[in-house]
Each structure stands twice: as C-alpha cells, then as structure tokens.
C-alpha cells in the first residue's frame, strides 16, 4: 500500500499495487451503482418466489402468484369466448336465411366459418375451398345440391351419402358399363356415343354422327336425372353437364369412365359432430365465397334498427 502515487498521464491515483511494473489506477465505481446491483438481486429473489422459476424434474416451482403462461392463455380464451357469447346466442336463435339482413352478424358468421373451415373442411375441399378432382370447388357458381344459405346448411348438417343418416342427400348413378358386377345397361359403343353427346353439350366436342346417336341414348337413360338438355337436377345432386365445370374432369376418358362405372363422393353429416352455430357459420362462409345463390343485398344501415320480429314478418 505504500506505493500509492499519482499517475502523471491521467492525474489519477493508483491503488498502490504493482505487478511486474503494471499498476492499477484507482477509479472506484459510484456507490449508488452498488446499491442498484443489490436492488436487482432483491428483485430477482422476489421474482423467483412470486413466479414459476426453479425447474424440477417434471415441472417448475409454481410461484406464489400462481401465474403460468397456460393459465394466462386459458384466461384469454375464456374472455374471448365471453366476448363472443352474444354473437353466438344471436346466431343460434336466428334462422339462417335471415342472416343477410344483419350485416354485422353475417360478418361475424363468415369470420367464424372461415376458422371452422380450416379445421374441418380443408382436408377435402382445400385451404382456399377450391376443391380438387371429385371434391367440389365451393368458390364457383355451380352447385350440385343447391347454393343458397338454407340448402348449404342442410347439406352440411346431414351430409351427402352419409350411411346411417336418414336425411342425408342420397343419389346413385347406375353403373352403365358391362364391368364386373355392373348392370350392363349400355353397350360399349353406346357409351362412346353418349360421351360424345355429353361433351358436345358444353362445346368441348363438335356435334357429330356419334353425338347424334348418343342423344337418343341420353334421352332414354340420362335425361331423367340430368335433365333433357343435360342441365343437371339438384334433387338428385345430378351435375350440370352443359357448363364449364366438371367434378371428375371433363376429358373424354374421364367422362366415359364415369358413365361406365361411376364414382360417388361422400361428405360426412356434420350435424352430429359440430354444434348448429358452427354449421351456420360454415354455411355463411361457404356462401360468401363468391358463388352463393339467392343473393340478398345486406340491409341498409337505416333498417338495421328494426326489431328482429318485424324483420321476420317482413321476410315472410
């Protein structure tokens, strides 16, 4: 300690130690810094006591406040559900065909439906509801069973060809080809002819001798469901054959194969899997994708103040 001196270059006192000619300047920290440091330690101890902190083998210590990130999530979910409760109750009580008259409720239903769609429907219909071969595209204006809100709700509730559901949408196209177990209703050349006719309906093929022969076959065998002009029949879910949209592709091979040995899609009945409000929201979402039928312009803001009963009367 006796070697303290003042360093000339910095005008600072040294601490008085010397190691092989190396000395240390005495530049003490301010004392408040030390107190700040102690305060952070006290804070850390308090934090460890109050919050989950010390890891164990299975779980960490709980902390006196009982806070956890999962608990916080539960609280937030509960409060979100409470916020939604009014909307959900209003949707439950409202017949779906009146939904377009309540723009805010419709908006909420579409948003809820979009979320439910991503969980339940994208597996077959795709993330953008664009469908794929055998799974209908829900964005377009072509509907097998009908595209207004009430019909979509019914399709969702009871499904299509759902075994065990009495109200499910049911139809079956006969197996026209002579394949094993088939009915053999049409000979192979007749199937070729009727394929030519079907493709000529939408202009994919030009009218020919074959298509003229096929017209007779069509009228005898197909028109009962698909309609005389091939425009489809919704009571059977029979596709419109005269438009640009094909459920199982519009190539000659695909159309011929469908006549000879038809495939049938199955959609689950969601009535026993989802609650009615979710089904209404899904129907509203699907209807909103751009192809919804029986379009009703949303009520003007001035009409929004009408009582629901009055609106219901007006709707009748």
């Amino acid at each position: 300690m006796a070697n303290k001196r003042v360093d000339e270059a910095t005008n600072t006192e040294t601490v008085g130690h010397e190691w092989d000619g190396i000395e240390e300047l005495n530049t003490p920290l301010p004392r408040w810094w030390l107190w700040t440091f102690y305060a952070t330690i006290v804070f850390a101890i308090g934090y460890v006591i109050a919050y989950p902190a010390l890891p164990g083998i299975h779980k960490a210590t709980a902390g006196l406040l009982g806070w956890s990130s999962r608990g916080q999530l539960d609280n937030e979910l509960a409060s979100a559900a409470a916020d939604r409760a009014r909307t959900v109750a209003a949707l439950r009580d409202m017949p779906i065909e009146e939904l377009p008259r309540h723009p805010e409720l419709m908006h909420a239903a579409v948003a809820g439906g979009a979320a439910a769609f991503k969980v339940n429907c994208v597996q077959c219909h795709g993330a953008g509801a664009a469908g794929s071969n055998g799974f209908p595209n829900l964005n377009d204006d072509d509907w097998l069973w009908g595209g207004d809100l009430k019909t979509i709700e019914a399709t969702l509730t009871n499904g299509v060809r759902q075994p065990g559901d009495a109200a499910t949408r049911m139809s079956q196209m006969p197996v026209f080809g002579p394949s094993a177990g088939g009915d053999g209703l049409l000979a192979p050349n007749q199937i070729q002819d009727v394929t030519s006719f079907v493709l000529s309906l939408s202009g994919k093929e030009k009218a020919s001798a074959a298509s003229r022969r096929g017209m007779a076959v069509f009228e005898a065998n197909c028109a009962v469901c698909h309609g005389p002009g091939g425009t489809g029949g919704r009571q059977f879910g029979a596709p419109n054959l005269s438009d640009a949209i094909w459920l199982y592709a519009g190539t000659r091979a695909a159309v011929g194969a469908q006549i000879a040995n038809p495939r049938h899609g199955v959609m689950p009945a969601w009535g026993n899997r989802l609650d009615p409000v979710t089904i209404k929201m899904l129907a509203a979402y699907v209807h909103s994708l751009g192809g919804g039928e029986e379009f009703t312009a949303p009520a003007a803001p001035a009409q929004m103040g009408m009582k629901p009963e009055a609106e219901a009367t007006a709707a009748r």
Binding site: K4, E13, N26, P28, P30, N139, D140, A244, I245, G290
Partner: protein
C-alpha cells in the same frame, strides 16, 4: 493546470466504491445564468404547454395540436397528420435532431448539455428548490453536516415533497401527449383513466424524483453516453469552457499579488468557479467529462475579475486552437468566424437538406392510397359459363378528416368486370364508387371476372377521389387464368 498535490496519497483503506460528493452550488447572476433561465423557462413552457394547444381539424379528428394517438395509430402535429406507413417523416425528424446535435456540438461545443438537456433543466430546477428551502451553498453544506434532528427532518420532508410535486407534474404531463389532454385530465383525477396512464405517470414521477432530485450530475458523468460521444466529436476548433491558465497561474490572493507584483497571475484562487458549478468540478483542472459547459463559472469569474479590477475572461468560451494562439500572444479568432467552418457548414447542409426533403414530401403527399392483395388460394376460379374469376382485397385509404367518395376502376384486362361482396354478379361493372369514412382505411373484397379464354396477364386497379383530380392512386396486380400467360 493540474494539481497533483491536491490529491492526498497517504495510506487509507482502499474502497472499490466511491461515495458521492454532494454539490452545493452557490447562487450566481450573469450573462450565462440569464441565458440558462430563459432556456429553462422556454423548455418547461414547451413541455407543459404543448398538449393544451388546440387545433381545429373538423368533426372527425381530434383537436389537439400535438397528439401521438397510439390507439388509432396517428401522429398529429398542427396541420400535419402522419399515418404509420409514413413513419419516415418521424424518422426524418429524429435524424434531423441527431444531426442537429452534431451541428450544435461542432459549432458551440456541449451547449445541449449545458442549457437544453432535460437532465440539466430539471437538475437546475431542483437546485433552485434546494436553495429556496435550505439557503445558499454554506447553509446547505451546514445542514448536510448537521445531525438528523426534528428541524432537519422537517426541512428535508418539505423539500422532498416539493421535489415530488415537481416530479409528479413532469411525469403527469407526459401522458397528455398521448390522449386528449382535457379528457384525460378529468379521467385521471376521477380514477377512470387507463391503467397505463397511471403506470406511466408513476414511473416518470419516480425517475424525475430520483434523477433530478438525487442523481443529478451523476447521470451526466456515469450514465449518459452523450458526453462520451461528444468527447469524440469535439476538436481543436470547438468552443469549450476554458480556464486561461497562461493568464491565471501562478495563483495568489490579492494581498499576495500586491506584495509581490509580477509574480502572480490573475487567478486569486477564490474558488468561486468551483462554488457555482452545478456538477461540482474545478474547471481549472482543464477540460473534463463533468463539465457540461453551462458557463456559470464564467459568470462567477467575471464578477470576481470586475471586483478586483482585472480584465474579464479569465474563464471563457474558447477553442483549444485559440488557447494556443492566445498563449503565444496573438488575438483570438472571433466566435462568429469559428461557427462558419467546413464541418459546421457540412452538418448544416445535410440537416437542412433533410428538412427541405421532408417539406417537399409533405407538399406532394396525396391523402388517398390504394393497396391490393390478390387471393392466392385458389389463384383463379372457373365459372360455369367458362369465364374466369379472380378475387382481390382492396384497401382504400382516406387520409382526410371527412368522408370521401372514391371510384375504383379496372385498367386493362379487356372484357373484365367486377363486383363486391355486397353486390350480385349481374351488377358487375368496370368501375365502382365507394364512400370511405373519414380518416379510415376501408377494406373491400372485389371479384373480377374476365371472359372465357382470357389469358393470365397484369392489369391495374385505379383509385380516384371523386372531384379531386390530384388525389389518385394505382396498383398493378396479376390476373390468373387456366389459359396461362399469352
């Protein structure tokens, strides 16, 4: 200049931590003290007054002149309204503030530290409170040394109460920049304001109380990075408070100097420069980080020089270069000439270029904006009649404080028409008119349908405020089709 003999080097236990030496600065009046008063009043008036200035913006926008509306993501400054995507205006202002500091530093040294820094202003304010309650330097020093008794406790409590009141006023004023001031004040006192308002007020009250009341010059010396940066920015041509040691040394009292004429310098070693210093340093030790260049020591020294009949300016603003010149007996450069040198002109040029650029941008700014997002899943929809539909989400932005009618139109894409969610397809047209609410962005989902066989191609949406030719925007987008690009 240095006084190594002042440091006692006797043996004493070595501590790693230094106790704060409290500063009891003496009251002084003079040129720089008056400048300091003026700047303090202006700064505090701006801080406390600004949120209460009203500015009429019509019925749809707040009428507070300066308002940072975080909830609605708007920044109002008199006639200027900034939206989040225009944050470059704020960034530009911050860059100007930064370069402005460089400019001030290169021209007049640490003037910011000495006069306008909030830490300086509030420390000054609190030191006046000290003086009011406890008296001037000697009285405060005596009270500090005095044992704790009822009288001292009473004085301290009274002083700290005033500290707390000033701190509360400081912390409380901050929140008025973020909400309508009269409304928030009413809500604040009736206990209905947002918790964040109380939290912010509490935190800022405590920081003001601690930093202004107790930490003071410790903030400048230990916490603030700016003195360190400034140390690097100062050069031989920067004005700093300088003790002219060639004139003052060796020091001696007036009596000594009279007895031995010609042996002593002008400094009479009265320590007045140390007594008035708000950071408690001795400027005669030379330039140092603790010197905020407030000039109070200049005031003190000038008064002593006047009283002893010596020329003023023993302590004065001077550059290192001039110090050398004066030492050599040459006259100093005029201060105005010092300010106009390449470095300051460069800073000033950059500073004003940014300012002019911002003003120019402000002038050509349009209050209408269109952004378009295309649906990517699915990219297109084939309709039953063979036509192709694409969906887009348009965002129409109305940046004015009144509802406006805006026309959306398709540019290009022959034969195409569009309709929205609240229309039927048979109403599809090539242009639509929407009313966008005041000061809002309206999202519109638009279906665009092109005739069968249309190739994938680019087209544009245009937005035009009805009756305002200058207020238009355009956005190019892709139209997808099963036909592919042609």
């Amino acid at each position: 200049m240095n006084r190594p003999e002042a440091i006692k080097t006797e043996d004493r236990p070595l501590s790693l931590y230094a106790k704060r030496e409290p500063v009891f600065n003496r009251r002084i009046d003079g040129r720089f003290r008056r400048i300091k008063w003026a700047i303090m009043v202006i700064c505090l008036a701006i801080y406390w007054g600004t949120p209460w200035i009203r500015w009429d913006r019509g019925p749809y926008s707040p009428d507070q002149a300066v308002l940072i509306d975080l909830a609605h993501r708007r920044f109002y400054m008199f006639s200027i309204e900034i939206w989040p995507q225009e944050f470059y205006f704020v960034a530009g202002l911050l860059i100007m503030a930064g370069i402005g500091l460089f400019l001030v530093t290169s021209a007049v040294g640490r003037a910011w530290c000495g006069y306008a820094c909030p830490q300086t202003v509030w420390t000054d304010l609190f030191q006046h409170v000290d003086r009011f309650f406890d008296g001037d330097r000697n009285a405060r020093f005596r009270l500090y040394k005095a044992p704790w008794g009822p009288a001292k406790i009473a004085r301290r409590l009274a002083k700290w109460t005033v500290y707390l009141a000033i701190s509360f006023a400081t912390g409380g004023a901050w929140i008025f920049y973020f909400a309508d001031a009269p409304t928030l004040q009413h809500a604040f006192w009736t206990g209905t304001a947002a918790p964040v308002a109380y939290g912010t007020t509490f935190v800022l009250t405590m920081t003001t109380f601690v930093l202004g009341g107790f930490m003071r010059e410790q903030v400048c010396i230990y916490m603030c990075p700016w003195p360190r940066i400034q140390t690097a920015m100062l050069d031989e041509k920067s004005l700093i408070v300088t003790y002219k040691d060639w004139r003052g040394e060796p020091r001696g009292s007036v009596k000594k100097a009279e007895k031995n004429p010609g042996q002593f310098g002008d400094c009479i070693d009265c320590n007045q420069c140390v007594a008035v210093c708000p950071t408690g340093i001795d400027i005669r030790e030379g330039p140092q980080i603790g010197c905020i260049t407030c000039g109070l020591c200049i005031d003190a020294c000038d008064r002593v020089m006047d009283e002893t009949g010596r020329p003023r300016g023993l302590i004065d603003y001077a550059t290192l270069e001039d110090a050398e010149r004066e030492k050599a007996g040459q006259p100093p450069t005029r201060h105005l000439k010092l300010i106009w040198r390449p470095r300051t002109i460069l800073y000033f040029g950059v500073w004003s270029a940014i300012g002019l650029g911002l003003l120019f941008l402000l002038g050509i700014r349009v209050h209408t904006d269109l952004t378009v997002a295309k649906d990517r899943s699915p990219p297109y929809i084939l309709m039953s009649d063979g036509s192709v539909r694409n969906a887009y989400t348009l965002r129409l932005r109305n940046m004015e404080g009144r509802p406006r009618r805006m026309e959306i139109a398709i540019q290009g894409l022959p034969g195409a028409a569009m309709w929205t969610e609240d229309m039927a397809r048979d109403q599809a047209r090539r242009s639509l008119i929407r009313t966008v609410p005041a000061d809002e962005t309206q999202g519109v989902r638009v279906y665009v349908v092109a005739p069968a066989g249309s190739a994938a191609q680019e087209f544009a949406f245009t937005l035009q405020a009805v009756g305002e030719p200058r207020e238009a925007d355009r956005s190019e987008v892709q139209f997808d089709s099963p036909e592919g690009e042609r």
